[in-house]
């Protein structure tokens, strides 16, 4: 016969025997920790401080409760009904964790830890109650001691663990990993990503951004030339045109809904067959200025007239000339005066000659020879010698005005990822400026820091600088939007040496919407930012080919502070690089494969020991204990 249902607890039932009242108590316990967690966040406590406060409060509360009502508390903690109530709350937490929702997983939050702490204390109390300990009860002890080990492991991991994702630039050694989480300082070692050398091979990729596809199952798809490529969600991407070597003919367009700064479209009349056209942006910086070739004058556009501009728009010598070396994530500076050797780890750098106005002419033997056309600092270059003891000193050339050209010239002599710059701080070489101002619609001619002429700014009317030199403001754009466009380079000769661009279209056949854009690849070290189209539902990026099956994967190298290699591995998702308790693996959530996941879980051993104790204890309790008890019962 089935037993009658359990009667509801009477009002006189003690707390230890009433599951509903225990449930209310546990709800209050969780609510208290939710409030405290919110308060900790409000106070700006970090993870470690929150945990310290949690442990302090828990220890104080436990000590006070033990002093005030030890027997009552012991009866509660060792009650089977309380174990059932806790099981119900753990079940609720697991259900909450299974639901897609924002915020940390329940057992990573303080209230989850508080619930686990109560369970661990209960189980320890039950173990204490089951004295004396016999071999048959070993399983029970293992099972009931395991949650304490797991909890200790979880708390230790939260206190001293690391979990971060960082993007590494190939060839650059870093000791701090930033991005995608808290900054991680690697203790006493650095990390470098070494990508295998291969020629650039840009490809067009399409993807569904994570926001539009929360499941993240869309992934990244290559869009080859030819037929449209189907994307998740019914979208299509198509490569319309590929220009292997392009000349950018980008424009700036007026768009009242755009948030771009005001810009002035100017035409520089220099007596050449085709005048120079450019856009000057109002809010300062390099984009607000255009220099006419040959140092004849410069054109500047500003929001408002300010007499202080006279002090900055006039010739000024360099306040300081320095060399700047960037390598392995560090930047070092040294004076650029000739004759002062710069001792660097493993090499010496010395400026041997300075050319204020650099030029090259045929030397006596027909070899090209560098010389200075004048003492005026129009094209300042430096000649340096790099000696590392492995052979004759190597000659480097540095341009102050064109650092990209210097990088190309010196690339064979410097380690990968190293840049050397010639900086002339505060220098101004122009003596004549044409200054357009937006608020008063004026155009002024400045010479040596003085206003020599001022006229109203009239669009389309040339402003004569001198005979044969003029500037015409063609259009004033209040809200600008950059529009990229490109044409094939008519002077292209060498295949593979050009600047490739691709024109692509994404479409949504269901709504009939489509969008077209131009894309250009970034460098090997710096991938371009993806372009989001169709209101951010589809992303496109034209970048170097992603490592695929068969392609050699990039290697992670661990280096000590002196640059010695400590470990090296090409990590994969299930085969990370492990070093001093750290686990470095490709970030599975990053589609481009250039992010690594850094994890340090110091409590892992305790958690694993807790799980093993629990499973072993269960097997002992369920299957070995009856055998042992039968043996004990034998006379």
């Amino acid at each position: 016969m089935p037993e009658p249902p359990a009667p509801p607890p009477s009002p006189g039932t003690p707390f230890q025997e009433s599951i509903p009242r225990q449930a209310l108590g546990l709800a209050a316990w969780i609510g208290l920790w939710l409030l405290l967690e919110a308060r900790f966040r409000h106070l700006g406590l970090n993870d470690r401080q929150q945990l310290a406060a949690f442990l302090a409060i828990l220890a104080t509360a436990g000590a006070l409760a033990a002093l005030a009502a030890r027997a009552w508390l012991f009866r509660l903690l060792t009650s089977v009904r309380f174990a059932v109530t806790q099981g119900l709350f753990l079940l609720g937490s697991a259900l909450l964790g299974a639901l897609p929702r924002p915020g940390p997983a329940p057992f990573r939050s303080l209230w989850g830890c508080a619930l686990l702490a109560l369970l661990a204390v209960s189980m320890l109390a039950v173990s204490w109650k089951r004295r004396p300990y016999t071999l048959a009860r070993l399983g029970f002890l293992l099972v009931h001691g395991a949650p304490s080990l797991v909890l200790l492991g979880v708390l230790w991991g939260r206190f001293d663990g690391v979990r971060a994702s960082a993007r590494l630039t190939p060839g650059v050694t870093v000791e701090r990993l930033a991005g995608g989480g808290p900054e991680v300082l690697l203790p006493g070692f650095g990390l470098r990503l070494e990508a295998p050398a291969r020629p650039p091979d840009p490809r067009l990729y399409a993807f569904i951004p994570a926001g539009a596809d929360p499941a993240g199952a869309a992934g990244v798809r290559e869009v080859p030339p030819g037929a449209p490529t189907a994307l998740p969600g019914g979208f299509q991407a198509e490569q319309l045109e590929l220009i292997p070597d392009a000349v950018e003919t980008g424009q700036v367009m007026e768009n009242p809904s755009a948030l771009g700064e005001p810009a002035l479209r100017v035409v520089l009349g220099l007596g050449l067959p085709s005048p120079l056209v450019g856009h000057l942006f109002a809010r300062g910086g390099e984009r607000s200025r255009q220099d006419a070739p040959g140092g004849r004058f410069a054109v500047v556009f500003r929001e408002a007239w300010d007499p202080a501009l006279l002090a900055s728009l006039r010739p000024a010598p360099a306040r300081a000339e320095t060399l700047e070396l960037t390598a392995q994530g560090r930047t070092l500076r040294h004076s650029a005066q000739p004759g002062e050797p710069w001792q660097l780890p493993g090499c010496t750098l010395q400026v041997t000659r300075a050319y204020p106005d650099f030029a090259v002419r045929p030397g006596p033997g027909g070899e090209p020879e560098a010389f200075s056309r004048s003492d005026s600092p129009r094209e300042p270059w430096l000649q340096l010698e790099l000696a590392d003891g492995s052979g004759p000193a190597r000659r480097l050339l540095l341009s102050a005005r064109d650092p990209a050209l210097s990088d190309r010239l010196n690339a064979p002599h410097l380690p990968p990822g190293t840049t050397l710059r010639y900086l002339r701080e505060g220098e101004e070489t122009q003596r004549r400026f044409v200054l357009f101002t937006r608020d008063d619609r004026q155009v002024r001619l400045l010479e040596d820091g003085r206003v020599v002429r001022a006229e109203p700014l009239v669009l389309g009317q040339p402003f004569i600088v001198e005979r044969g030199l003029s500037v015409t403001a063609e259009a004033l754009l209040e809200h600008t939007e950059p529009v990229f466009a490109a044409n094939p380079n008519p002077g292209s000769g060498r295949p593979g040496s050009g600047h490739p661009v691709v024109r692509a279209r994404v479409s949504d056949p269901r709504s009939g919407r489509a969008q077209v854009c131009w894309l250009e690849p970034g460098s090997r070290d710096q991938a371009p930012a993806p372009v989001l189209l169709l209101d951010g539902q589809v992303g496109l990026v034209y970048r170097d080919r992603l490592p695929g099956p068969g392609a050699p994967p990039p290697e992670l190298v661990v280096l000590d502070p002196a640059g010695r290699e400590l470990a090296r591995k090409a990590p994969a998702a299930g085969d990370p690089l492990r070093f001093r308790g750290y686990r470095f693996a490709p970030d599975a959530g990053a589609p481009w494969g250039d992010r690594i996941q850094v994890v340090r879980e110091p409590g892992l051993g305790l958690i694993a020991a807790g799980c093993a104790c629990f499973l072993l204890g269960c097997a002992w309790m369920f299957y070995l204990k009856p055998v042992l008890k039968r043996r004990e019962a034998r006379p």
Binding site: P5, L95, G574, Q597, V599
Partner: protein, 129 residues
Amino acid sequence: MSPTLGQCQALLLGAGAACASFAALQHARSLLAAPAAARLEGSALQLIRAGFLLFGLALAAGALGSWRARGELWPGDPRSAWALIAWLVWFIVLHINRIKAFKGRATAIAGLAGWALCLLAWLGLGGPA
């Protein structure tokens, strides 16, 4: 998760689900007032203990596989989440059976709920790896 551990987890979940199914059969028979209900409940609990242990092993295999593959101790997939939920229901079943007032019908109903949840974990949301 590496395929070996994934298959291992699926196998353990399947074995646990089989135990739970037999246990559910016993519980259902005991609820239908079949003779020797206490004996049926006893054998159902034995099967639930086996399922509890197998699901525990499956959760450990899932955690190990997740740690190896992603550096996360908790897999975060629906199958593991529902396996944990079913496992916690059995934790409750094993404890309420020790309370005299809940022996019999309440234990049988909780056991059937655990069986439904473990089938959800095994078939409904995850299925074999």
